[in-house]
């Protein structure tokens, strides 16, 4: 099929799809041109690896005009306002919330919506004068975010310290049961009170938010403060990630003759091509496209080019290991179930980290001049490939063993990784028990923990939140406001998301 007729077909499918809102149709259409012309030349071998499924460019296209993930410095914005948008520094809570709402409208990203909303408790706390007024305004702030940012990759951060603003945000989310925004508690048992952590756990079990990030482990990742954006991406505040590209370790293993061939040929070849591709894309983004040269976000200092990095995504470690084990005649000694399989997983990750860290990445000084490993959550179209380094759904092991196993792999992924655990509804009566488990998980190396209750409507799919009721609606062919629901439905159909092992406490 010619490129033109393929694009025409895609366009026709989009404009006739009654399950899309206007906004979703527009955004889908905007992605088409970037798929069929090249702003930069992909390296030799890249197209083949793309076709073979070794690499995915995650739909970014070949003519990016904006970095993938932006984490603007909202503190700076509230302090000095914004000339370009003609927003004065706010003087009270109403103005602060309105300023943020206006600002969010102008923050792009790969989703066309902001993927990072800032540490909203800290942003708002200094403006709180009257609790009742704060409760009213913050409740409507959160409703505004849910109804105008139609994408649950929008991620707010709270903590680590308890604040009144944080308490109010938790109370509102508990009541509202919205999928948007995602919320993460930057959790540090040394700084977060037990009561606040327990309230966060109560919320997680009621509406799948917040997730818990291991603040003690993450805060030293970059020389500047980090934020949790999009799924669970840990990136420098005031910067972000130019791009995310991913390697499919399952495909890489299937492409190799044996372990040695994987480590010494398939991985180096793929890493080389993927890094070269990312290099070119980043050069195009920085040197040619408009964003870093003209965006008011850059010009006014809310984003700084020197605080961006590139993310080297990974999926399918479990399937990679299981494939290698089968090649060695050990098909039952699977990832997570056998010490030998886990050792193999560590060997693959160590080799991958070595290869990625040996590559000098352009414009990535904030990450030491290298790309940062990221446990990519997967795509709705993936079948039989697990997120990052997760144990496959349906193959889970006893809870503490599972957490320890995850704790061995999380430290490889500097720019984000996470695991998700549904719990029986009885756990709601004792949220402190969930906090104990999470604290333990962090002490054995885990960096990010998401929970929800087995009966909750809002659930975490792979790295984003969706209302189960919206998935059912979309499955019937009805349009839903939130764009991730489409992916959620795909994951439910292809990746058995609703079949995760439910844990009891």
């Amino acid at each position: 099929m010619s490129l033109l007729s393929s694009v025409s077909e895609d366009a026709m499918r989009i404009v006739t799809d009654a399950s899309l809102t206007h906004e979703q149709a527009m955004m889908n259409l905007s992605k088409l041109p970037g798929q069929c012309f090249y702003g930069f030349a992909p390296p030799p071998g890249f197209e083949r690896m793309l076709t073979e499924g070794l690499i995915s460019d995650l739909g970014e296209g070949y003519a990016p005009f904006c970095p993938r993930y932006l984490l603007p410095d909202y503190e700076l914005f509230l302090k000095k306002g914004c000339r370009f948008l003609r927003i004065e520094p706010p003087t009270n809570l109403f103005e602060a919330i309105q300023a943020l709402e206006m600002f969010y409208r102008h923050i792009p990203s790969i989703t066309n919506f902001p993927v990072y909303l800032g540490r909203i408790d800290r942003l708002l706390q200094p403006f709180i004068r009257d609790e009742a007024e704060a409760r009213y305004l913050i409740r409507h702030f959160l409703i505004f975010i849910d109804r105008t940012i139609s994408d649950s990759y929008a991620h707010a951060n709270i903590g680590p310290e308890a604040t009144l603003a944080g308490e109010i945000i938790l109370d509102c989310e508990y009541e509202l049961q919205n999928a948007i925004p995602s919320v993460t508690l930057l959790y540090d048992p040394a700084a977060t009170s037990d009561a606040f952590a327990a309230k966060c756990a109560r919320n997680a079990l009621a509406c799948a938010k917040p997730s818990f990030a291991n603040h003690a482990a993450y805060q030293n990742e970059y020389p500047v403060p980090y934020g949790i954006a999009s799924c669970y991406n840990a990136l420098p505040v005031g910067g972000g990630a130019y791009t995310l590209c991913r390697i499919n370790l399952k495909a890489a293993a299937e492409n190799a003759k044996d372990l040695d061939d994987l480590l010494e040929r398939a991985l180096p070849e793929t890493v080389r091509a993927m890094c070269a591709f990312m290099d070119e894309k980043i050069r195009f983004l920085v040197e040619k496209s408009l964003f870093f040269r003209s965006s008011f976000l850059v010009q006014e200092g809310f984003l700084r080019r020197d605080l961006f990095t590139g993310m080297f995504g990974v999926v399918g470690l479990a399937e990679c290991v299981n494939h290698l084990q089968a090649l060695c005649g050990r098909p039952t000694e699977r990832f997570g179930h056998s010490a030998r399989a886990d050792e193999l997983g560590v060997a693959v990750m160590e080799r991958l980290a070595e290869l990625v860290n040996a590559h000098a990445a352009p414009y990535c000084a904030i990450n030491g001049g290298h790309y940062s490993l990221h446990a990519q959550v997967g795509l709705d179209t993936d079948a039989g490939v697990s997120s990052g380094a997760r144990i496959p759904i349906g193959d889970e092991i006893a809870l503490y063993d599972h957490l320890r196993q995850a704790g061995r792999f999380h430290p490889f992924f500097h720019s984000g990784v996470g695991d998700i655990f549904p719990f029986e509804a009885t756990c709601k009566k004792n949220p402190e028990s969930l906090v104990d488990v999470i604290r333990g998980a962090f002490s054995v190396g885990m960096r990010y923990f998401s929970a929800y209750a087995s009966d909750s409507d809002v659930i975490r799919i792979t790295g984003y939140l969706v209302k189960r009721s919206d998935i059912e609606k979309l499955a019937r062919g009805e349009a839903v406001r939130q764009d991730n629901v489409v992916w959620g439905l795909g994951e439910v159909r292809n990746s058995r998301i609703l079949e995760r092992k439910v844990r009891s406490l």
Binding site: K429, N430, S433, D436, V437, S443, L505
Partner: protein, 281 residues
Amino acid sequence: MTRAPVNRIIDQSGVDGPGNRTVFFFQGCNFNCGYCHNPETIRMCMNCGDCVPACPAGALQIADGAVCFDAAKCRGCDTCIRLCRHDASPRIVWMTPEEAAATLERNRPFIRGVTVSGGECSLRRDFVCALFKSAKAMGLGTLMDSNGGYDFSRDPELLELCDGVMLDVKCADAAAHHALTGRPNEQVLRNLDFLVSAGKLEEARTVVVPGALPNENTVRYVCGRLAPYWAAGSDSGYKLIRFRPMGVRASYRENAMPDDALMERLRAIALEAGCPRAIVT
């Protein structure tokens, strides 16, 4: 060496005290409560062997006249305990406190404490002391879930090692208690007073069975005894447990479950008496 018959270990539990805990359930109880949810934990195996041929997994054997259990083979189908005519279970592992402590050590990052339950844990007093000593060394909390038949006031060593007791007060009325459990309740009621005065009452617990037990009388009695301590700042809780017929012996199974209205009415009595943690489950 002090061994104890362990019926079951739950590595993670959010229903046996505060936070997440590892729970040891011992075999053997000196009470015989009509409503017992785990009647197979009451008596020790008599080695009659009835269950051995019935085990579909081949996890049971007779060796030297005793029933032997192979935990690795067990599929947890419960055929043996359904079949048992003696309120016992062949699925017992005799553990040393050191073995139990090794389990705690493995779970330690994820739990805040250990709870010993039953059967009746106070029958394994020496084992419990040894296990709690290890738990304390690991920085873990220690709770006992007891039927109250043991005289805690005469065991300062145990009480020193135990953070608190979750004490069953089944019936305040002596005759009703005897009819339900086959045992008098004087010691239980003395324990209620003693433990709360010693700051060792984690919570009192009463199972509510409408029509069969003088529930309100018991609740009023417990609240009456604890109210002065609550007024003085004690944080001892009172848990009101709904009777559920699951797992209960046939003779008691026909009793009705209490409805929400009854449970809330009883809870209100506790709240009115100043109970800081009045919980309905």
